[in-house]
Symmetry: C2
Subunit: 211 residues, 2 copies
Amino acid sequence: MSKKEISSAVIKRLPRYYRYLGELLEDGIERISSNELSEKMRVTASQIRQDLNNFGGFGQQGYGYNVRYLYDEIAKILGMDKKHNMIIIGAGNLGLAIAKYSNFGKRGFIIKALFDKDESLVGKEVGDITVHSMSELSEFIKNNDIEIAALTIPKGDATRIADEVVTYGIRAIWNFAHTDLRLPEHVTVENVHLSDSLMQLSYNIKWQEKE
Amino acid sequence: MSKKEISSAVIKRLPRYYRYLGELLEDGIERISSNELSEKMRVTASQIRQDLNNFGGFGQQGYGYNVRYLYDEIAKILGMDKKHNMIIIGAGNLGLAIAKYSNFGKRGFIIKALFDKDESLVGKEVGDITVHSMSELSEFIKNNDIEIAALTIPKGDATRIADEVVTYGIRAIWNFAHTDLRLPEHVTVENVHLSDSLMQLSYNIKWQEKE
């Protein structure tokens, strides 16, 4: 299965399918029709059929989809069939909240360490995760096969730190800083711009009032 | 100015324009050409011209855009010209991190209270924000003109709590729970599904390796 066969629009929908299929498994549901899934996900049954056919998960008349099979296939496409080592740079409130959120680990995103420029935090234990000094970044990333760096730092530091960790071999940046990053093509960036999402809320509140 | 005049695609881009124009103001830049802005934002100059013309912010030959004017116009469209009262339901790590993040207040999103079902947390002070009992939700929302409820609670509770606060008059839900909410048309929901965004990272890491 190659990425080329799957449109980026489908890819963007995959985590949601994965989430719903995971909930079905938790509920002990082994198979589901595209109509039932359509009802649950509020997506048309025909879109579901089109999307899921990308994974060879053809529904059969009177049988429906095999939930476990589709779940596992989507996991493979998403690279969720292997573990990803991650560090969090910025041991402030948000960084600590993410470090303490155990569900990421369950999904294969293993947080190996926190880093902070505040030396007074170095050595602090957060669950089984330790806060390290920024001076250890380079060695730690190389020695622990770290793929992902979450940046929970002020925007003023984000660009410089992102450039730095990329030189140490980081492949992906999970950016919570309120700024856009400019990085080489081979580095993937996923932004979580919380203020932008609040602004969308604000916009919707305003114009719903008007209508 | 009515929403109708502006496409939803433009609306989605507004927070990013707002962020860049804000940075220009911080840097004391009063005017900028669409080419300079294009360079900064990595958007084509023609798209910028099309987008910003929605706000009557016509660039003039040899002058460019008036940064302050555009910033203020976009603020109005986004409803950022008025304050929004917000509560956070769920005083766990993420809820506390959001409560402590002062920039939301600077942007007009005023966090009035935290709520938690754990009575042992009730009365706890987080900066100048107090943790309240869930039994106070209804009265607090009504008496404090609360528009937005941020849900930083497990997915198992999210649906029930969302339905509940909507009956108390909440207009917008900022949903951090790892589930989708089904709410009446007049209620706006903005999801921050952190795990979904990690899965996109995982996908990109996997397929960049392959190519």
